[in-house]
């Protein structure tokens, strides 16, 4: 499996999408930096980390993740490489799992980039209240939210296999970000798979009457349903040339 992941990284060499995703990961900290330096003087590191984590995992990550997932799977169809890979041979199940793992690794990289850039922008803005403990806690919170979000993106794997074009993914991602924005703060937010990861990771879920177990159950169910339909579709369908 290590070789698969290594080769997935090689596939990203000179890839514009990878660079764009890194830029996307830097964007929320950058916007918050602009906001802090322009309007909110006297902000602290804690507020900066909280805001960045919220905008990233509750809104921006949804858009970036749909693009990443669509690229990871869709390019194999669009560049006709799926037939090359499967005739090496690689089992379809292994191929699917390696893509899932690559998606997770990519998410971890973006999380690191977001957290590190938040730290740099925080120092650049001259904010007070930095501690290693605060940074570690913020990083762990964002990582946990993004990993849970990764699980909820499983149905998008199926969509990417079914519709291999990236445009619907981008439109869908933008739409989902908007839905998250509207749902966030509503009573039923813990029931929406793409909102509850941030609520759980940040601890905000305690403010809702819904049990955290229900949210975990929804996330897990979304993951399993996505995985099963993706597996069935991918292993039972002819490879489009």
């Amino acid at each position: 499996m290590f070789t698969f992941i290594e080769m997935e990284f090689l596939k990203l060499k000179r890839s514009k999408i990878f660079l764009l995703s890194l830029m996307g990961a830097i964007l929320p900290p950058l916007l918050m930096f602009i906001a802090v330096t322009s309007f909110d003087e006297g902000q602290t590191f804690e507020a900066l980390f909280t805001n960045v984590n919220m905008y990233m995992s509750a809104m921006f990550a949804v858009l970036i993740f749909t693009i990443i997932i669509s690229y990871l799977f869709g390019r194999e169809y669009n560049e006709h490489t799926l037939k090359t890979m499967l005739t090496i041979p690689i089992s379809r199940a292994k191929f699917l799992v390696s893509k899932y793992i690559m998606f997770l690794v990519w998410i971890v990289i973006l999380t690191v980039v977001t957290s590190m850039s938040t730290l740099i922008f925080g120092f650049a803005a001259g904010l007070d209240g930095f501690s290693v403990n605060l940074f570690a806690k913020s990083f762990a919170q964002l990582l946990y939210a993004n990993v849970l979000l990764f699980l909820t993106f499983s149905p998008f794997v199926f969509i990417s296999l079914f519709i291999t074009n990236m445009v619907p993914a981008m439109v869908g991602g933008a739409g989902l970000s908007l839905v998250n924005l509207l749902v966030y703060g509503q009573n039923w937010a813990p029931f929406v798979p793409w909102v509850c990861p941030y609520l759980i990771a940040s601890g905000e879920i305690a403010e809702y009457s819904t049990s955290i177990t229900v949210s975990y159950g929804i996330i897990l169910a979304t993951f399993v349903i996505g995985l099963v339909i993706s597996y069935i579709y991918f292993t039972k369908t002819d490879v489009a040339l």
């Binding site: 090689l10 499967l86 041979p89 040339l241």
Partner: protein, 307 residues
């Protein structure tokens, strides 16, 4: 009993009531080049995709190297190199990087092998060029390099000369012949270009509308090609009288074209010298005597329409 590397039994594929491959019984012998010949849409690519497990058969059986690929998938497919339609490679990567990915995943990466195979297809000077900047011919060569890189025992090549210039076609043809004759690699190659198959294949399978009409060796094919002798004479009526006196029947043994003064003889070909002598003796000026053979294109057209 022949040692078949590929054998199919009533292999069929149905797409929404449309039977694109219909009960194909294919037999590819070890070490032979098998040319699968057919028009566009005849079912060649679908058949090859089923052999490579890219497309699932609706019914029928496949045996590769005498084994069921469903049960011995890894063992079988790691011994096969293939190109299906346009080769698929990562556009942002170079030729070398693309081959590296394939061989690393296969678990046999060796930089020397990658360079050697690029040299074999004359891409060694282009190995640092990105795939998206390749010409169609270069893409096809890289596809062939990827297919042969792991020294497979079987090559399944779907229209591999598409996009190649005449020099490229000649080189690839020579390479495939060498792989087959020197290294004993079995090759299944499809094409709609009749002359290409004729030039390279030991056995030819004729496919039309999803049906494998016949499998025939090149020698058998040449025996089946219709031959005739064409006489161009100064006095066609006198020549026809001579044929009739010899009890040869028009439209059966011969046909004539009075406008250009030619007679085509389909039977008694070995007696053409004697007929020529009789014409000359009767004072007919024989301008031309040609032994004509039906080419593969004419044969294919006749064969498909008869079947």
């Amino acid at each position: 009993m022949a040692d078949y590397v590929i054998e199919t039994n009533n292999l069929s594929k149905i797409y929404s009531k449309n039977k694109v491959v219909n009960s194909v019984n294919m037999h590819v012998e070890k070490g032979k080049i098998y040319g699968l010949l057919g028009k566009n849409g005849a079912g060649k690519t679908t058949t090859m995709c089923m052999l490579l497990n890219l497309t699932y058969p609706s019914s029928g059986d496949i045996f590769l190297f005498g084994k069921d690929p469903k049960r011995h998938s890894d063992e079988i497919y790691s011994n096969i190199g293939s190109i299906i339609e346009t080769p698929g490679f990562y556009e942002n990567l170079t030729a070398y990087e693309n081959l590296k990915i394939i061989s690393k995943i296969r678990g046999d990466f060796n930089p020397y092998n990658v360079n050697a195979v690029l040299q074999m297809v004359n891409l060694d000077n282009e190995k640092s060029k990105k795939y998206k900047d390749f010409s169609l011919g270069m893409k096809q060569r890289l596809g062939i390099a990827a297919a042969i890189m792991h020294s497979p025992e079987l090559l399944i090549l779907d229209e591999p000369i598409n996009g190649l210039d005449p020099f490229g076609i000649k080189e690839i043809r020579a390479l495939l012949k060498r792989l087959s004759h020197e290294f004993g690699i079995t090759i299944l190659i499809s094409s709609h270009i009749l002359s290409e198959i004729e030039n390279i294949a030991d056995v030819i399978g004729f496919m039309d509308e999803g049906v494998l009409i016949e499998e025939i060796s090149r020698e058998e094919l040449y025996n089946k090609l219709e031959k005739h002798v064409e006489f161009e004479v100064s006095d066609i009526d006198l020549a026809l009288n001579i044929f009739k006196e010899l009890e040869l029947k028009e439209n059966k043994d011969f046909t004539c074209n009075k406008e250009n003064g030619t007679i085509c003889l389909y039977t008694h070909l070995s007696m053409r010298d004697k007929f020529n002598a009789l014409f000359v003796k009767a004072g007919i000026d024989v301008k031309k005597v040609n032994l004509c053979e039906e080419n593969l294109e004419e044969f294919f057209t006749r064969f498909v329409s008869n079947n």
